[in-house]
């Protein structure tokens, strides 16, 4: 469906991957700090997954962006360096700098999670890890916000030109980031040396799953408000949003993949496992199969959200000439 659009799959993948990476790091660094300001806090193991998986999707996404540049396609391989010669108030300029700092910080942050990393004593590594956790959270949120601001900055794109779009992207980034960490952990669980480690595994998993249910709840609410207010207006915005409402060309894709597969089903399954502990303080235990399927569904929905939003914004425009 992306043929003939100015921004196609590379941009869609970028928005998804950068959001996911930023969300994964923001969420896992927050959880790490919550485990106490000691280098080996109680959630350090899950934070390690977040720190290791976050930089890669962000870097891959940024590379994809370069491949889609008109200058790159025309053979000017390094013209994109011009982005670093200026700072202006273009969301893309601000985003470029944010993204660059985020990638740099996230690589150093991942390094602080390597056991006995060379060139640094463990004490230095621990204190650097805590310091960077505080620093990287605002940068992660910044990267997640700017992807929405980038799209939202243009009155000529009524579907995107909404202040709530950036909020939607932030919440989706955090949710898909958590899903990515949980998925990575379920696929590569490592070995838990004792019962205490196994219990800690589920304790961290519980906090993430419970947070994710809340985030998806917010995401559904934001989506509802986005669609409702757009539908209640007249003119450009109403026409634009009609492509994802029933009868629109993207409606089935949106409601099946984004709302059902990406949000409702995973939220209900997570709720099923979270509620017994939340209400009755029973032990939280989630089968490994579910721990893989649910994050996979959330990630699919997160990608499809970007896919639908990026296409919908480009096939609609101001009404009349």
């Amino acid at each position: 469906m992306t043929e003939g659009l100015n921004w196609g799959l590379p941009v869609i993948w970028y928005l998804f991957l950068a959001g996911m990476g930023a969300g994964a790091l923001t969420a896992s660094a927050s959880l790490f700090l919550r485990g106490g300001s000691v280098a080996r806090g109680m959630h350090v193991e899950i934070a390690r997954y977040g720190a290791f998986i976050a930089p890669i999707p962000v870097m891959v996404g940024s590379l994809l962006l370069i491949f889609e540049l008109g200058s790159f396609e025309a053979g000017h391989w390094f013209r994109w360096i011009n982005l670093y010669l200026v700072i202006n108030l273009s969301p893309m300029s601000i985003g470029t700098w944010l993204l660059t700092f985020f990638i740099g910080l996230s690589v150093v942050y991942a390094y602080t999670f390597i056991h006995n990393a060379p060139g640094i004593t463990n004490e230095q590594r621990y204190s650097l890890r805590i310091f960077l956790s505080w620093v990287i959270i605002p940068f992660g949120i910044g990267v997640a916000v700017y992807t929405g601001v980038l799209l939202g900055a243009m009155p000529s794109r009524p579907f995107w030109n909404s202040p709530i779009l950036a909020m939607l992207f932030v919440v989706s980034s955090l949710s898909t980031g958590i899903a990515a960490v949980l998925l990575a952990r379920a696929l590569f669980p490592g070995k838990q040396s004792n019962d205490e480690a196994a219990e800690q595994y589920h304790q961290s998993g519980y906090i993430f799953a419970a947070s994710d249910v809340m985030l998806i709840g917010f995401e559904l609410l934001i989506l509802f408000l986005f669609l409702m207010f757009a539908h209640l207006t007249v003119g450009d915005v109403k026409q634009a949003v009609s492509v994802v409402l029933p009868g629109g060309s993207l409606a089935s894709m949106f409601f099946i993949w984004v709302v059902l597969v990406g949000l409702l089903v995973p939220a209900l399954i997570e709720l099923y496992y979270v509620v017994p502990k939340l209400l009755y303080h029973k032990a939280f235990a989630i089968p490994r199969g579910i721990e893989i399927i649910v994050p996979a569904a959330i990630l699919t929905g997160g990608f499809m959200l970007r896919y639908v939003v990026v296409i919908a914004g480009q096939i609609t425009g101001p009404v009349g000439i």
């Binding site: 921004w7 540049l69 008109g70 790159f72 994109w80 982005l83 200026v86 202006n88």
Partner: protein
């Protein structure tokens, strides 16, 4: 050449001379255009230029012959499939109550250009000396943000240069005191080009003495291309089964 332009433009000798003088001054200023490409774009947007070139298109005099589109293609060697200047046909009604109107389109050289405010490299800027919105193809990285931001779909990626491209009011001609190629070639003299900040220019007098409109005024971009008797009908306006068909004559078959 100049005499021919004067005749085609219907200028009186005196005003043509004075126009040529300030075209010459603007030409000297062009030389520095490349140097300011990387300067702060925010200043370029807000600073009000002394001269603001604009165009007035009298659609009553347009026969839809596409000579302007062809002249533009030839002038810039615009790649196949891309258009800097094009003419849309607007057909509407049912026989015998029908009409077919022509809407020549080009960059509006807005006073509040959205393409400039989103450009991350400063490659696109509004020239302070004459208000023309230009793109420096040596600086532009081709991110297509301006293509998204332009409410008029006036921009495209030139696959030869890899840069965003669009109408530049024939800067190379205008700076030498010659009118843009589309104006020069217009057989119906539907296009009037000039400085709309000068109240005595032909274009200013015509704008003041005619009912004029701009495209998509609600976008707040303050276009500097004005129309007399433009048909603003769009396919989305077709209610109650009314027939409205817009032919864009470009790769983008639909206005967006």
């Amino acid at each position: 050449m100049d005499a021919e332009v004067k005749m085609k433009n219907g200028d009186e000798g005196k005003s043509a001379l004075s126009r040529r003088d300030f075209f010459g001054a603007a030409g000297a200023a062009t030389l520095t255009a490349g140097a300011v490409a990387l300067s702060n774009t925010a200043d370029a947007v807000t600073a009000k230029s002394k001269i603001q070139y604009g165009m007035l298109i009298d659609t009553r005099r347009c026969s839809g012959c596409q000579a302007c589109s062809v002249a533009c293609k030839a002038e810039f060697d615009v790649p196949l499939g891309a258009t800097r200047s094009w003419v849309e046909y607007v057909e509407k009604g049912t026989y015998p109550d029908v009409s077919r109107n022509f809407l020549p389109r080009l960059c509006n050289h807005c006073s509040e250009p959205l393409c400039v405010s989103v450009c991350p490299t400063g490659a696109t800027y509004k020239r302070k000396e004459d208000g023309i919105v230009v793109t420096d193809s040596d600086v532009c990285i081709g991110c297509k943000y301006c293509l998204q931001a332009c409410p008029y779909d006036a921009r495209f990626i030139n696959h030869k240069t890899g840069s965003a491209d669009k109408c530049d009011f024939c800067l190379h001609r205008v700076s030498q005191g010659v009118v843009p190629a589309c104006v020069n070639t217009c057989e119906g003299r539907a296009r009037i080009f000039g400085d709309i900040n000068d109240p005595n220019s032909e274009i200013s007098r015509l704008i003041a003495s005619n009912p004029v409109t701009v495209l998509r005024k609600g976008q707040g971009t303050k276009p500097n291309v004005y129309y007399i008797a433009a048909d603003h009908a769009d396919e989305t306006d077709a209610t109650n089964g009314q027939y409205i068909n817009v032919t864009t004559h470009r790769e983008q078959a639909e206005r967006r």
